[in-house]
């Protein structure tokens, strides 16, 4: 797994049980990493009292038109989400 600024990524299409911070509207969608949000406690473990090592969280930019096929605004409009690295796979 090698993610860095500029990496095109796809958000994993998975549906694990429990608490997570990856909204469904970006699962399976492609975007580009624009920065590191930080190394943060893993919210998925934290929600159940665990801690574990902090995880890299990346700022990922998506084009609106890739998220919503019927998007009516400017095709250059974008959404940025902060996503935990284990939800991202580099796209080649």
């Amino acid at each position: 797994m090698s993610v860095s600024v500029g990496t095109p990524v796809r958000v994993l299409q998975m549906d694990p049980p429990g608490h997570h911070r990856t909204p469904r509207f970006v699962r399976g969608k492609e975007g580009v990493v624009i920065g590191l949000a930080g190394r943060m406690p893993d919210a998925e473990r934290l929600a159940y009292g665990g801690r574990g090592p902090d995880q890299p969280v990346w700022r990922v930019r998506f084009r609106q038109t890739t998220l919503w096929p019927d998007y009516a605004g400017d095709p250059r409009d974008t959404v940025v989400l902060d996503l935990y690295e284990h939800w991202l796979e580099p796209r080649r």
Binding site: G38, A72, D74, R76, D77, T78, L81, D82
Partner: protein, 224 residues
């Protein structure tokens, strides 16, 4: 707490009440204790007691933190933006690290990292938390109810132009919109473009036009 009528929140006598002496029933304003203890209220009480009993902090610590949260207001964010408009070096530091830049002005932005996203002449930024209602409350105070509403959270991320138009913000053609969804441990603050017509203004004058909604991105500063 809302009071429909002035003066009806107390069970005071009716003489001198301005009703011409006729007795008509007033519904009693309920006290907080009249409502049943909710599950979350009980949990909060229990948690606070445990934390204090374990010696993790004192009741005074909890009280001070609550006071601090309640005292936070968008004025702090307005001041940061006004200073950034006046001082390019401060602006650079603000965009690098909001919490540290706020500290320079004696503003405690709290321990949760905040990122400033700067508008440009052709890109507008707007903030949301689609998952819940994350908001830089230590810096801006409590979030408005609409920010927490399902309608705002669901719609601004997929039809931002329509939502902004409902706020009265009509962005010109050619202006891109970037929506920032606060899905992790980062909070956001929008730094609008300094409007023309503000040349020579003081920091206080500038701060006065940077409203809360400007800091969320659902409004732009208006020069009266």
């Amino acid at each position: 707490m809302t009071h429909a009528h002035d003066g009806h929140e107390h069970e005071h006598g009716h003489d001198g009440h301005g009703h011409g002496g006729h007795a008509h029933p007033h519904p009693r304003q309920p006290d907080i204790e009249d409502a049943p203890l909710t599950w979350h209220m009980a949990l909060t009480e229990a948690m606070a007691e445990l934390i204090v009993q374990k010696g993790l902090c004192t009741p005074a610590d909890i009280h001070r933190t609550l006071e601090k949260i309640d005292a936070a207001s968008p004025a702090a964010g307005s001041r940061l933006v006004a200073r950034a408009w006046l001082d390019p070096d401060f602006r650079a530091r603000l965009l690098q690290d909001v919490n540290a830049a706020a500290g320079e002005l004696g503003i405690d932005a709290g321990g949760i990292p905040i990122r400033a996203v700067a508008d440009t002449p052709d890109r507008h930024n707007v903030i949301v938390c689609t998952l819940c209602s994350c908001y830089p409350r230590f810096l801006l105070g409590g979030s408005p109810d609409w920010y927490k509403s399902k309608a705002y959270r669901a719609r601004v991320v997929r039809e931002p132009r329509a939502v902004l138009a409902e706020f009265g913000l009509h962005l010109p053609d050619g202006m891109q919109i970037e929506v920032h969804d606060s899905t992790a441990e980062l909070r956001y603050l929008v730094v609008p473009v300094r409007p023309s017509g503000t040349e020579g203004w003081s920091e206080d004058q500038l701060a006065a036009i940077v409203t809360r909604d400007c800091l969320i991105g659902t409004a732009l500063p208006v020069v009266a």
